[in-house]
């Protein structure tokens, strides 16, 4: 649910990074945080366990600049990927404006990817959203690893509706900003439609 503030002339939108455990959602945010000018970002917050697994969410506020005199602010969230944190994932999806699905390209994570994207659909539907109508992009992460599935296979499994998708290596930043820009664009286009 975007928030338009006429008084502050600001538009705020919420983006959520979703995906199976250890696929690189937090790494995406960390890279964005490291590579953004200090004046365009706020503090990054990670609610993580002692072993640095996301427990509740990561949060990063970003300013993207002005559009027609309105400052555009995006709040980036990640969900905890581990299966048993489903209750937390549902909470973080509340009021979402755009979703990035981060897939782990490794062949042995095929099932985890499928389970996670199915879980995304279910959790969105519970709140009256449809993944097919929401601004949505897919990122195939860890493309630098040797044991990855082919892009054709991944696309067929995870992106049958042909939304914008990107190959990425979040650790080194490959594809990270392309993914973010694509979903931000979709969210703003949705606003333009009067959403």
């Amino acid at each position: 649910m975007s928030f338009i503030n006429y008084m502050a002339r600001e538009i705020n939108c919420k983006l959520v990074y979703y995906g199976p455990g250890l696929c690189g959602k937090t790494t995406n945010l960390q890279y964005i945080y490291e590579r953004t000018n200090p004046e365009a970002k706020g503090k990054m917050i990670s609610l993580a366990t002692e072993t640095e697994r996301t427990l509740f969410f990561d949060f990063l506020p970003l300013s993207l600049g002005e559009i027609r005199g309105f400052k555009t602010r995006f709040h980036l969230y990640t969900v905890p990927g581990q299966v048993f944190y489903d209750a937390s994932r549902k909470l973080i999806l509340k009021g979402v404006d755009g979703v990035i699905f981060v897939a782990d390209s490794q062949i042995e994570r095929t099932e985890a990817n499928l389970e996670s994207i199915e879980n995304l659909r279910t959790n969105l539907a519970e709140q009256g959203y449809s993944l097919d109508k929401l601004p949505f992009v897919v990122q195939y992460n860890k493309r630098d690893l040797p044991n990855v599935a082919s892009m054709e296979e991944l696309r067929e499994m995870l992106n049958p509706t042909n939304v914008p998708d990107f190959e990425a290596v979040a650790r080194t930043g490959v594809g990270v900003f392309d993914t973010l820009k694509a979903v931000a664009k979709l969210v703003l286009t949705e606003l333009k439609k009067g959403g």
Binding site: Y6, A184, L188
Partner: protein
């Protein structure tokens, strides 16, 4: 339209800000702020230069969401009030009209009793303001200022 939008106009913002400013004084608080349930900061007052209100806003919303999740499991509607006591700072969190969250940060110059009392009154006022704001947003003809943005405007945002 998938999501109902939260919109803030000047008139209502000024009313909200007045309530928040007064609450800082009446409750002897350090900081008072209002957040929507998605973690967007709506208004803040008091010693806000020394706190990271954006982060606090998002964490407060996460906190309320988690507590709401627990309430649901216990077949409660909501836990509308939360209080966290620290050594120096205390936080009082109140859900207002199941829509926005009123947060009061205070120290030993105030007391939980006083904060509770003042929050109760402020909550009622805020509830009225947000109700009328909601009506205004739902009125037909309240066009989005973004209807006129072009693809070019959006592209320009990313030309860096």
């Amino acid at each position: 339209m998938i999501n109902p939008q939260m919109v803030m106009y000047e008139e209502e913002f000024n009313q909200i800000q007045a309530v928040v400013d007064r609450l800082v004084r009446d409750a002897n608080a350090k900081v008072v702020f209002i957040v929507d349930k998605n973690g967007q900061l709506i208004a803040a007052s008091g010693d806000i230069d020394n706190v990271d209100t954006t982060s606090l806003a998002s964490l407060t919303a996460g906190n309320i969401a988690a507590t709401g999740g627990m309430a649901k499991l216990l077949k409660e509607n909501e836990f509308a009030t939360q209080f966290h006591e620290g050594e120096k700072a205390n936080i009082h969190i109140q859900l207002v009209g199941n829509r926005v969250i009123l947060v009061v940060i205070f120290d030993s110059r105030s007391s939980l009793g006083l904060v509770r009392l003042r929050v109760k009154k402020a909550s009622e006022e805020l509830n009225h303001i947000f109700e009328s704001l909601l009506k205004k947003v739902q009125e037909p003809g309240a066009d989005s200022p973004f209807a006129e943005i072009t693809d070019e405007d959006i592209d320009n945002l990313f030309n860096d």
